[in-house]
Symmetry: D3
Subunit: 136 residues, 6 copies
């Protein structure tokens, strides 16, 4: 039984996953600014139609999902360059039911981030992952 979070995590790890009832988009962003990560995910999700561009409601849902995923990436303070670190991240955004067998709960969003965080110097970094889930 597929669930929205696991689908998002496997997608961001480039592992094979059948979409089933889920819509999946992926992309990547590298930055010392948290706001760049948020913008990259929002832009991709709107461009691909996972959330509507002309209503605040979906953007509000996505914004909080991204921030929650960033807590897993940042582990304490939602900061990158301001505490002298940079992140290179892939992202996956998934829209659909919370799980294949929970269609009565309406549509949800999952945002997964995976990549590396560390000093702006090759190899001086380690892996991070984050997942945020919100109702649409």
């Amino acid at each position: 039984m597929r669930s929205i979070g696991k689908v998002a995590v496997l997608s961001v790890l480039d592992e094979p996953v059948a979409a089933g009832p889920f819509r999946i988009i992926t992309g990547q962003v590298g930055s010392m600014g948290i706001e760049k990560v948020v913008a990259a995910v929002e832009t991709a999700a709107k461009r691909e139609g996972l959330i509507a561009d002309d209503h605040y409601r979906g953007e509000h849902a996505l914004y909080h999902a991204v921030l929650e995923a960033l807590h897993g990436v940042c582990r304490g303070q939602l900061e990158l360059g301001s505490i002298l670190r940079t992140a290179g991240l892939k992202f996956a955004v998934v829209a659909g039911p919370k799980a294949e067998d929970q269609t009565a709960e309406g549509r949800w969003l999952a945002v997964a981030l995976y990549g590396h965080i560390g000093a702006p110097r090759k190899g001086f970094e380690h892996e991070v992952i984050g997942l945020g889930i919100n109702h649409l």
Copy 2:
């Protein structure tokens, strides 16, 4: 090329992964107390010999890796029952190089947590993931 974080995440998701140079243990814990999660991971890692039982050094490394993983799970406040939520989690602890091709950086630990968080009521929950990485 396998890296310690991805190995930990795939292990905690029950996805197939070849251990290669990594030692992997897994387990599960459900609780409304963060301290129970920390204890379950520490006990398993010591019992299986991923960290020594009679030195503080390895426990210090593991403790901070678990707390970092819990940031991904808790997304803001390291609290469960005290803010009326419970978590059912699988965990994976991996010891080895930071990545297969980075043996010059010594031994590292990765802790991955995956499961569900929510109200203490079936279905009133969603998925969470967390990953903490530290040098041993």
Copy 3:
């Protein structure tokens, strides 16, 4: 023009406010445990039908709105008795459009908390307020 947040804040302050398109409930709770505050608000909102009792979706929306309101109350750490303080709070939960003229954005929830926080001793306390808003 009435907006959901202002309606919630005026309601929790016992100021006169016309409900208009909004449904408003109020109550009170005093405790040294954050989880008691969350439970009191959730119980009232379900009993009065602002969110459905048999679906997670509305509870998820309300849970995060309460936590956001608690950030205003706690100002830094979502803790009461564990850092030796107690809170006596009134609460208001409002359901409806984000504002009277924004019906195209669907239904939203606002949770307002107002009261006193301090030592468990009469007069050794000061006022606090918090507001959380989420899409339903």
Copy 4:
């Protein structure tokens, strides 16, 4: 019986309130930088004489009151533009007794903030409120 926090909140909401023993100032500030909000409140409070310009003591009291109010506005991380959001806020600063009948406790400060937070796009935002109280 009027209390300093309720006077501050009603003032920032533009609701009628009799000043009684309290001194009240109001203003507004819109920004993507937290430091601009702090500066706007401090400048207004000094210009109107609520705190002395030539002593640190009152500025220290006001600074912490503003930060506490900002916790209600930001709900988790004291950040605006760095996590891609902007705030348009009214502020009220009130100086006086903690409440009309508590003159034995000396002078206190209350800072209330009320407005909207969200994306830098009309309508893509919701209301926020914050209140900070400190002894002078």
Copy 5:
């Protein structure tokens, strides 16, 4: 030139320091509960008359100074036993001018905490320090 913070830190480290214009008290507390640390410091400060027992004002100043010192001790989350750690701490509370040559700024409080934090097992711990300063 002596300053209130340095006097507090040297006192808590058992280093020699001349009191000069400062009043200094010290004590110790070991606990898995933050609230026990706060209570021990407050009780000692009231018993020795550094703050008045019958007014909230001084207790409010001291409470926030203790919480600020605890941020240095806890480094991220104001929690002890709830994240499976314990602390054995000495404390010093100092009342007086902010520094010997800054008497125009009135009376201030400094709270210093120093000791060990870690697992509840001898040697499985390391040192921590914290300092909180507030105007009285």
Copy 6:
């Protein structure tokens, strides 16, 4: 019996301390940017050989020790200029055993920060201290 944390704190306070088995370096940095503080400490520690310049492992250990020390300095949010405050700090970095009698636990790092934080205006500031300890 000397311990690494106390040696770091006394060093940063310019108090006399015998190095014994510890290597001690000191320096100073004033800034409105946290990243400048991190960079100053890292640069000094590498230049003096407390950590290797060509491996990530030691930098990872030092980075987290600096962030932990900054929690004591910032007391809640790892931010300086972004919340309108500046810091003038001395720093000490110490490498060696966790304590003179604990050589079986390998090498550790301690980072102590001490100085003043406040508005960018002479005298409008108070003292702060922070200490971070990590295994090397």
